[in-house]
C-alpha cells in the first residue's frame, strides 16, 4: 500500500494545512459572531426606528465585509487542499467526508452569498424588513456552514457510521444520522461556534474601548458595548460549559489527546489536574524522568472532569503506549501487531483477487476483518509515533482555558461599569479591553492546536495516519505551494489590517 513514505512531504502538507487553517481562523469566527451582532443591531434599529442604530449597524457591517472577503479567500483553499495534498485521504473516506462538504455548499454557502449582496447593497433597493431578513440569513447561513464543516471534523476525531469496503479499499458511509448526531461532533460544533461569538464580541469590545479611550463616538461605543458584552458574557459561559463536555468526550474517544493535554504519563486512580506547571522537555514515554520541573496540582480533579467520577482511573501516555493489564488497556505496540495483520490481510486479499484465488481471498479477508479496528496502527513504525507533541498541547490548552476564564471576568466587569456609567473613567481597563481581541485570537488558535496537533498522527482517529492520507507528491512541490500561500495570505492580511484600521479611525460618523 505504501511504496515510499516521504515524511518530509507529509510535514510540508501538514504545515500547509495548518497555515491555511490558522489564517482562515483569524477571520471566520469573526464572520460567525459579527453576523449575529450586526443582526442584533439592525433588529434594534428596525424596532426603534432610531437612525443612530442604523449608522451603528452599517459601521459594523463595513468591518464585517472587509473581514468576510478574506475569510472566503482562505476557505476555498481548505476545501480543495483535501484533494490536492491529501488525495489518498480523499479517496479512502470521500464516500463519507464529501457529503458534509457538499451539504455545506448547498445548504449554507448559498444563503450567505445570496443575502450578503442584499445586506450590503440593498439598503435602498429592498424594504426595511426584507433587509433585516437578509442580515439574519447571512448570520444563519454562515453558522450553518460551521455546522457541516465541524460535523466533518468531528467525524475525523471520532469516526462513526461507516464500514470498510475491501474491494475498493475505502470506507463507506452506512449511517448518515450517526455522523450528524455524533455527540463528539455536536460538542465540537457548539464549543467552536460559541467561542466564535465570544471572539466577535471581543472585537466589538476592543474597538469600542479604543473609542472611549480617545473620547470619540461615546454613545455609539456604549451602545455597541452593551450588546456585545451581553452576547459575549453569555457566549463565554457557554464556551466554558461546552469546553468541559468536549474534554469529557476526548477522554472517551481520544484518551491519548487528553493525556497529552495534561502531560499525564502514568495514570492513577484518582488523578489530579495540573493547574500550572513547568514541563521537562526531555521527558520521553517510558523513561523514568519526572515530566514536570514544577507543578501545582488539584487533587482528583482530572478524574472528575474526564470520567465524572472522583476516584476513577485516567490513563496516561505510558499506559496507552505500553498497555496496562490491570486497567485492561491495550498498548500501541499490541495494536500495531494487530494493525499489521490487517494491512497484510488486505494486501493478501488484493493479491488473491487479482489472480482469482477465491479461497485465499476469503482467508485473507477474515484475517483483515478480525484486525480491521487497528488498521491505522499497522502503518506506524514505532509506538512512540502514536504520541503527539506534548509541550505544545499542554501549554496551548492552558493558554486557552486561562484566557477563557479571563474573558468571563472581563465581560462581567464591563457590564457592571456600563450599568453604573463608570466605564469611561477606567482607562487601564479600557486599554485591557482594547487588546482583548488579540488575546481572543490567541485563545482561538490555541484551541485548534489542542484539537488538531493533539490527534496526531491520525487523519482519521486510529484508522488512517497522515503518512498514508497524503498525496503522492514530492516535498519540493508542496513546499513551493506553502511559501506561495504564506506570501499571499500575509500580503492579504496586511491589506486587511490596514484597511480595517483606516475604517476604524474614520469611524461611524464617516457614513
Amino acid at each position: 500500500m505504501i511504496e515510499q513514505i516521504d515524511l518530509t512531504m507529509v510535514n510540508w502538507a501538514r504545515a500547509t494545512f495548518a497555515l491555511t487553517a490558522m489564517y482562515h481562523w483569524i477571520f471566520v469566527p469573526l464572520t460567525l459572531g459579527l453576523s449575529f451582532i450586526c443582526a442584533f443591531f439592525e433588529s434594534i434599529y428596525v424596532k426603534t426606528g432610531d437612525e443612530q442604530w442604523k449608522k451603528l449597524t452599517r459601521f459594523w457591517m463595513t468591518l464585517f465585509g472587509i473581514n468576510f472577503a478574506i475569510g472566503v479567500a482562505t476557505g476555498i483553499i481548505l476545501e480543495f487542499e483535501f484533494g490536492t495534498n491529501w488525495s489518498n485521504y480523499s479517496w479512502m473516506v470521500g464516500d463519507i467526508f464529501g457529503a458534509p462538504l457538499a451539504i455545506e455548499g448547498i445548504a449554507a454557502f448559498f444563503l450567505e452569498a445570496t443575502f450578503f449582496a442584499v445586506m450590503f447593497f440593498g439598503w435602498n433597493r429592498v424594504s426595511k424588513k426584507t433587509h433585516l431578513f437578509a442580515t439574519w440569513m447571512v448570520a444563519v447561513g454562515s453558522n450553518l456552514s460551521a455546522v457541516w464543516i465541524l460535523i466533518a471534523n468531528g467525524w475525523m476525531q471520532h469516526p462513526v457510521g461507516m464500514t470498510f469496503n475491501p474491494d475498493l479499499a475505502r470506507f463507506e458511509m452506512t449511517d448518515f444520522w450517526a455522523l450528524v448526531s455524533s455527540p463528539v461532533a455536536i460538542s465540537h460544533f457548539v464549543h467552536v461556534t460559541s467561542s466564535a461569538f465570544l471572539y466577535a464580541s471581543l472585537f466589538v469590545v476592543a474597538i469600542s474601548s479604543w473609542y472611549l479611550l480617545k473620547k470619540r463616538h461615546l454613545l455609539f461605543a456604549k451602545r455597541s458595548l452593551t450588546v456585545a458584552c451581553t452576547f459575549g458574557l453569555l457566549s463565554s459561559l457557554f464556551v466554558a460549559y461546552t469546553g468541559d463536555e468536549h474534554a469529557f468526550h476526548a477522554a472517551v474517544v481520544q484518551p491519548m489527546k487528553l493525556a497529552a493535554m495534561e502531560a499525564l504519563y502514568d495514570g492513577e486512580a484518582p488523578t489530579g489536574l495540573v493547574a500550572m506547571g513547568l514541563l521537562n522537555f526531555s521527558k520521553k514515554p517510558g523513561d523514568d524522568q519526572d515530566p514536570f520541573i514544577f507543578k501545582v496540582k488539584i487533587p482528583m480533579a482530572l478524574s472528575l472532569l474526564a470520567n465524572r467520577e472522583i476516584y476513577s482511573f485516567v490513563p496516561g501516555i505510558n499506559d496507552l503506549v505500553f498497555g496496562n493489564i490491570e486497567q485492561n488497556i491495550m498498548g500501541v505496540e499490541e495494536k500495531m501487531v494487530r494493525g499489521k495483520l490487517a494491512v497484510a490481510g488486505l494486501g493478501d486479499y488484493k493479491a488473491a483477487q487479482n489472480v482469482g484465488d477465491q479461497l485465499a481471498a476469503s482467508k485473507a479477508l477474515t484475517l483483515f476483518e478480525k484486525n480491521s479496528d487497528y488498521l491505522g496502527y499497522g502503518y506506524l513504525d514505532s509506538a512512540e509515533q502514536a504520541v503527539p507533541y506534548v509541550p505544545l498541547i499542554f501549554y496551548s490548552f492552558r493558554v486557552m482555558v486561562s484566557l477563557g476564564t479571563f474573558f468571563i471576568l472581563l465581560f462581567l466587569v464591563y457590564l457592571y461599569l456600563l450599568r453604573k456609567d463608570q466605564l469611561e473613567k477606567q482607562p487601564l481597563l479600557l486599554k485591557l479591553g482594547a487588546i482583548s481581541f488579540f488575546l481572543g485570537l490567541v485563545a482561538q488558535e490555541a484551541g485548534w492546536i489542542v484539537t488538531e496537533v493533539g490527534r496526531q498522527p491520525w487523519a482519521i482517529q486510529d484508522l488512517l495516519p497522515v503518512t498514508i492520507a497524503r498525496s503522492n507528491l514530492d516535498s519540493g512541490t508542496v513546499a513551493v505551494t506553502f511559501f506561495m500561500f504564506l506570501i499571499l495570505f500575509t500580503a492579504l492580511l496586511i491589506a486587511e489590517l490596514k484597511i480595517m484600521t483606516k475604517q476604524i479611525s474614520i469611524g461611524p460618523e464617516g457614513d
Binding site: A73, F80, S87, S90, L488, K498, I499
Partner: protein, 376 residues
C-alpha cells in the same frame, strides 16, 4: 424513495446534478468575463465604477457555485476528486490562486490604505478572468484528451507527467476549449452588464463588445467541435468495465444520444440569438437566452464525456485506470443520502432568483453609487 433506485441510475443522476452545477458555473463566469472587460474595453473611470459594482454584487454566486462544484464532485465522485486534484496538482493550485486573489479584490480595491493599490487589485480581477478561466477550460478539456496517471490496487493515484497537470495547457484542443470559455465569459459579461446598468454610452460599448467577443469565441468553438467528432474517444465496456479507445467515440455518442445533439444545437443557437438580439435590436435582455444556451451547451458537452459508456476522466498512461461515472462514484448509500439533500437545490435556486429580482429590478446608476460610500 431514492433508496430503491439502482446504483447505476443514481450514478447517472449524479453526473447530471454535478454537471448542472458545473454548467451553471460557466454561465456565472459572466463575472470573470466582465472583470477582463474592465481593462480591455477602454472605459472611463465612471464606467469602470459601474462595471465593478455591478459585478461585485454577483461575484460570490459564481465563487460559491465553484465551491459547490468541488464539494459535489467530492461527495458523488470521490475518486475523481482524489485523482484529479491530487494528480493534476499545479493546474488546480493555479486556478485556486486566481480565485483567492479575486475574493478580496472587489472589497479592497477602492478602500483607502489598501496596501497593494487599486491597480494591483484590478490586475487580480483580470488574472482571475483570463488565466483562471483558461485553465479551467484546459482542465475540462482533459475529459476528452485524457491525462497521465495510473491508479494502483488501492486506487491511489500516481501522476506520470512531471508538469503535474499543467501539461493540459499544452494541448491545442484543451487550449481552444479554454480560450472559448474566456471569450464566452466576456460575451456573457458584456450581455449581463448591458442589462444591469443604466448608462447610454457604456451600454452601446457593451452591446458591441458582446458581439465582437462571440466572433472571437466562434473559431475556438468550431475547432473544439470539429476535433471532438473526429477524435478517438474512451469507451467503457459496460459488462466488465474495461476501457478501450474507440474511433469517433464522441460522434457516436452524439448520434446515439440524439437528445444530446439537440441540447447542444439549441444551446448554441440560444447563445447566438442572445448576442444578436443585443447587438441588432434595442433589447438588452440577451443575457437570458445566452445564459440558458450556455447552460445547455455545457451540459451537452459534459454528457458527451460521461454518458453512453464513456470514460469521463481517461488516462492516457493506463487505459484501465480511466475514471468512469461507475468506478469513480460514491456508494449507493451515500448517493441516496445526497439525492435527498439535492432536493434543496430547487429551494436554493428559488431564493437566488427571488433575491436577484428584488435587487436588480431597478438598473444600477452612477448617482446611486456616488451616493453610497460603501460602493466598490
Amino acid at each position: 424513495m431514492f433508496g430503491s433506485l439502482d446504483l447505476s441510475t443514481l450514478q447517472q443522476l449524479w453526473w447530471f446534478i454535478v454537471t448542472l452545477v458545473g454548467s451553471l458555473f460557466v454561465f456565472l463566469t459572466f463575472v470573470q468575463g466582465g472583470q477582463t472587460l474592465l481593462s480591455t474595453l477602454s472605459l472611463t473611470e465612471d464606467e469602470k465604477i459601474l462595471v465593478v459594482n455591478s459585478l461585485g454584487r454577483k461575484w460570490e454566486l459564481t465563487f460559491t457555485t465553484l465551491v459547490l462544484f468541488g464539494g459535489a464532485l467530492f461527495a458523488a465522485f470521490p475518486l475523481f476528486y482524489a485523482t484529479s486534484f491530487g494528480g493534476a496538482y499545479w493546474v488546480w493550485i493555479l486556478i485556486l490562486f486566481t480565485f483567492i486573489i479575486q475574493a478580496v479584490s472587489y472589497e479592497y480595491r477602492r478602500k483607502p490604505d489598501n496596501f497593494l493599490g487599486k491597480g494591483v487589485y484590478d490586475a487580480f480581477l483580470f488574472i482571475n478572468g483570463s488565466v483562471g478561466i483558461l485553465l479551467i477550460g484546459a482542465a475540462i478539456g482533459t475529459f476528452f484528451t485524457g491525462s497521465n496517471f495510473t491508479l494502483n490496487d488501492y486506487n491511489f493515484v500516481q501522476w506520470t507527467h512531471p508538469l503535474r497537470g499543467l501539461e493540459a495547457a499544452f494541448s491545442f484542443f484543451n487550449l481552444s476549449l479554454g480560450l472559448f470559455l474566456v471569450f464566452l465569459a466576456r460575451t456573457l459579461g458584456a450581455l449581463y452588464l448591458a442589462n444591469n446598468l443604466e448608462h447610454e454610452s457604456l451600454v452601446v460599448k457593451l452591446k458591441n463588445s458582446s458581439f465582437n467577443n462571440l466572433l472571437c469565441a466562434l473559431p475556438f468553438l468550431l475547432y473544439v467541435l470539429i476535433t471532438l467528432v473526429l477524435m478517438d474517444g474512451y469507451a467503457v465496456n459496460p459488462v466488465d468495465g474495461t476501457v478501450v479507445t474507440e474511433a469517433n467515440k464522441y460522434l457516436h455518442n452524439l448520434l446515439q444520444m440524439p437528445l444530446n445533439l439537440i441540447l447542444l444545437l439549441v444551446g448554441l443557437v440560444l447563445v447566438v440569438l442572445g448576442v444578436v438580439l443585443n447587438r441588432f435590436t434595442a433589447s438588452v435582455r440577451g443575457i437570458w437566452p445566452a445564459g440558458l444556451g450556455t447552460v445547455l451547451t455545457c451540459l451537452a458537452i459534459f454528457f458527451l464525456a460521461g454518458y453512453n459508456n464513456t470514460a469521463f476522466y481517461p488516462s492516457k498512461a493506463d487505459l484501465n485506470s480511466s475514471l468512469t461515472i461507475f468506478n469513480a462514484s460514491s456508494s449507493h448509500y451515500t448517493l441516496t443520502v445526497m439525492t435527498y439533500v439535492a432536493l434543496l437545490v430547487p429551494v436554493v435556486l428559488g431564493y437566488i432568483i427571488w433575491v436577484w429580482k428584488q435587487m436588480d429590478s431597478k438598473k444600477l446608476t452612477l448617482e446611486e453609487l456616488n451616493a453610497d460610500k460603501k460602493s466598490y
